[in-house]
């Protein structure tokens, strides 16, 4: 289905992940370090990257940030720890999602497919959306603030489109997980929280006291009109 890069230092995990994902129909390549991953990716972009958080040398967070500087490729973090701290740090580094070891290959594959489907369908949206000094062109996949283009990951972009597409309406985390990530009921609400936070740093004049993307306590998020 898609060309996937696995970044994992444990050889056996790398091989078994590769086996399992290839078995699910993906094309997989693997590297054992963050440095190597950045090198390989710049030479030959992949459609999706799986990064283990604990890598020797350049760790998973750094690798993800490094990839994010030049690419909006979907990134899934692979972590042995499901603690809030690690998950949030991984998402803050720019990952679109995370999985916890040991993961079920079918489940991981389903998430990969969801992210890939979204990546491919990006750009098939509606007309331009605006709020404040922010202008979104869903078709072109471009966000401008004050006329200047803002660099967003695809997940951030979809999240922004979803919020901007329903101005004034409270959207629950579940709804956003479904619409933006394509996940069912059992997605992790922290995904939404961290992405909203990241989005605010890009489109809000003051991310600490947001004017556009508002938190509705206990309900979800909404775009102020």
């Amino acid at each position: 289905m898609g060309r996937i890069l696995i970044v994992e230092d444990d050889e056996r995990i790398r091989s078994s992940m590769r086996l399992a994902l290839e078995d699910e129909g993906h094309t997989v390549e693997d590297v054992d370090s963050g440095e190597e991953a950045v090198r390989r990716f710049s030479a030959d972009p992949f459609e999706l990257v799986l990064i283990d958080l604990m890598l020797p040398g350049m760790d998973g967070f750094e690798t993800c940030r490094s990839l994010r500087r030049h690419s909006t490729v979907p990134v899934i973090m692979v972590t042995a720890r499901s603690d809030t701290h690690d998950v949030v740090a991984g998402l803050e580094a720019g990952a679109d999602d995370y999985v916890t070891k040991p993961f079920v290959a079918k489940e991981l594959s389903a998430r990969i497919r969801a992210l890939l489907r979204r990546a491919r369908s990006d750009g098939a949206g509606s007309g331009a959306l605006t709020f404040g000094d922010v202008e979104i062109e869903p078709d072109a996949g471009v966000v401008r603030r004050d006329g200047e283009e803002v660099h967003c990951t695809r997940t951030e972009f979809r999240l922004l489109c979803e919020l901007a597409g329903h101005p004034g309406k409270v959207l629950s985390r579940e709804h956003l997980l479904e619409q933006v990530w394509g996940y069912d009921y059992f997605g992790d609400g922290r995904l939404v929280d961290v992405h909203v936070r990241r989005l605010r740093t890009k489109v809000e004049p003051d991310p600490a006291s947001p004017r556009f993307i508002l938190t509705v306590r206990g309900m979800g998020y909404k775009l102020a009109v």
Partner: protein, 531 residues
């Protein structure tokens, strides 16, 4: 390692409190110091008062006696000279004697007794005194007449063959002494009370730092391991404070080390588990190409791999609770949908998909429909999954799942509104004997009636995690006999989670079973059944 932690299933703090409550205690240090001060003050003031009293009494009496002696002898001399004259009328003479107020004269002359007072005559004078004086010896004697103290001074007048007696009332002196005694006793009492007060104040002051240490110990016992004692600038306290703080630090280190070890172990196990899970899934997708024995081997491998994974997850979860790092991640959800999905997902896993769709309905009590609840979704899912699994492994499966509002309770402070959600899971097991009702929430505890299947498939941690998850929500969980056999587990989650509460410790007894069956016909709204 984990098993030994709380082998009695009672949180250490609660156990400590319970022990101190049941043991009969002697008086405390403070009471004893207060008592010692009071007794000391009492002794001292009594001795002082006694000495004061006796010295004062002696002085008063001897002064009075001296004055009276002088007068008596003066009178006696006067009478003697008067009696020498034969013309003297004795009756008039005795009347003319100048006496102190309160004193009465008695004269014995010529074999006759004369007295100035009707009440005090010859008979009032003690016989010994009379004999002595009439025998020619001057004498004084104290005696009591009609309950009042008297002093009699007898002067023999041998020259005129007479004897002169003067009886003085000591009532005035006695009254003064009584007043003094009352004053001194009152002073002793005041001193004693003051001594007790000083003792209490001093001991309180001396024990105040101990109260600080006690508070700190209680805080640590209740799980606040960061608590330390401030020594201030007291050199005597410094040692205790530093020893206490060292102990607390060591304890904290040990607990953290243990929790970290559990956490590290379960993380380390995840790497091989990842490889195993991934490879088994590859084998799984090529199941058709395997020979029957290999297929059976794969099934065994997969089943135990799942169990192993769950165990590692559960251990990690437990280590987070032990380290105190478990936090609620609250989401607003439809509780019915949450329960329904969690139960459905677990049921299909627990039966390896062989049983097909969920074989039991989720009933919904009145007032729950449309309710939104702020809970940690993942934890509530685990609660439901573990309860359903528990029923599957130990009790022949779930017969009924019910989501309802907690009925209004009548408590001491009035009626408690139904501000909590109840999830009831009933099974078709043999029931749980009373002694095991709370013990089954302990780690690795398997009831005496748990079958062999359970021992080989459960992780032994499920119900203890249920208790921890519920506690983190500030809710409660308990079990009771289900009507019609089997056991019902009841989870109560407050509408507004306020954090862990002490009352919800594992094994805390629940309220008396509420005699109410939803859908029993009497209720206003029949439960809606979701399948």
């Amino acid at each position: 390692m984990v098993r030994s932690r709380r082998s009695d299933g009672v949180p250490p703090a609660a156990a400590g409190r319970r022990a101190s409550r049941t043991r009969s205690l002697g008086p405390g240090l403070r009471a004893r110091v207060t008592l010692a001060f009071a007794i000391g003050a009492l002794l001292l003031s009594t001795v002082m008062a006694g000495i004061t009293y006796f010295v004062a009494r002696q002085t008063f009496l001897s002064e009075r006696q001296a004055a009276e002696l002088r007068q008596s002898f003066a009178n006696a001399a006067l009478i003697q000279s008067a009696l020498r004259s034969p013309t003297t009328e004795v009756t008039q003479l005795i009347e003319s004697v100048d006496t102190l107020p309160g004193s009465r004269s008695v004269l014995h002359a010529g074999g006759q007794w004369y007295a100035t007072s009707i009440s005090v005559g010859q008979s009032a004078i003690p016989a010994a005194e009379r004999t002595l004086v009439l025998g020619g010896t001057p004498a004084t004697q104290r005696f009591t007449l009609d309950g009042s103290p008297q002093l009699v001074i007898g002067v023999p007048l041998p020259a005129v063959h007479a004897a002169y007696f003067e009886v003085f009332s000591l009532e005035e002196v006695a009254g003064t002494l009584r007043a003094l005694a009352v004053t001194l006793a009152a002073a002793a009492l005041v001193t004693t009370v003051a001594g007790a007060g000083v003792g209490r104040w001093v001991s309180g002051r001396a024990l105040r730092p101990l109260a600080g240490v006690t508070d700190a110990a209680v805080a640590i016992a209740d799980g606040d391991l960061d608590t330390r004692v401030e020594a201030g600038d007291d050199a005597d306290l410094e040692e205790l404070a530093s020893a206490f703080n060292r102990m607390a630090t060591n304890l904290q280190d040990r607990i953290e080390r243990e929790a970290r070890f559990t956490s590290d172990v379960s993380h380390e196990l995840r790497s091989p588990l990842t490889t195993l899970t991934a490879t088994v899934s590859v084998l799984e997708s090529h199941r058709d190409q395997l020979a029957p024995p290999a297929r059976s081997a794969l099934d065994l491998l997969r089943a135990d791999l799942q169990r192993f994974t769950r165990m590692v997850d559960d251990l990690l979860e437990i280590s987070r609770f032990d380290a105190g790092s478990a936090e609620l991640s609250l989401d607003e959800v439809d509780p019915v949908e949450l329960v329904h999905r969690a139960v459905a997902a677990t049921a299909s896993v627990a039966t390896d998909g062989r049983r097909g769709p969920v074989a039991f309905p989720v009933e919904v009590g009145p007032g729950v429909e449309g309710l939104r609840l702020r809970v940690d979704k993942r934890r509530v899912e685990r609660i439901m999954a573990n309860l359903v699994e528990n029923a599957d492994l130990y009790a022949g499966g779930v017969t009924r799942v019910l989501v309802e509002r907690r009925p209004a309770l009548t408590a001491a402070g009035g009626v408690v509104p139904p501000d909590a959600l109840r999830v009831v899971v009933e099974d078709r097991g043999p029931g749980i004997p009373d002694p095991e009702r709370t013990r089954i929430f302990e780690r690795f505890y398997r009831g005496g009636r748990a079958g062999r299947r359970a021992a080989s498939q459960g992780t032994g941690l499920g119900l203890s995690l249920v208790a921890e998850h519920v506690r983190l929500h500030g809710g409660r969980v308990w079990n009771e006999d289900a009507p019609g056999g089997g056991t019902r587990f009841i989870v109560e989650l407050p509408f507004a989670p306020t954090g862990p509460t002490a009352a919800s410790a594992p094994g805390a007894p629940g309220p008396a079973p509420v005699g109410r069956t939803v859908g029993g016909g009497g209720g206003a709204a029949a439960p809606r059944v979701r399948t």
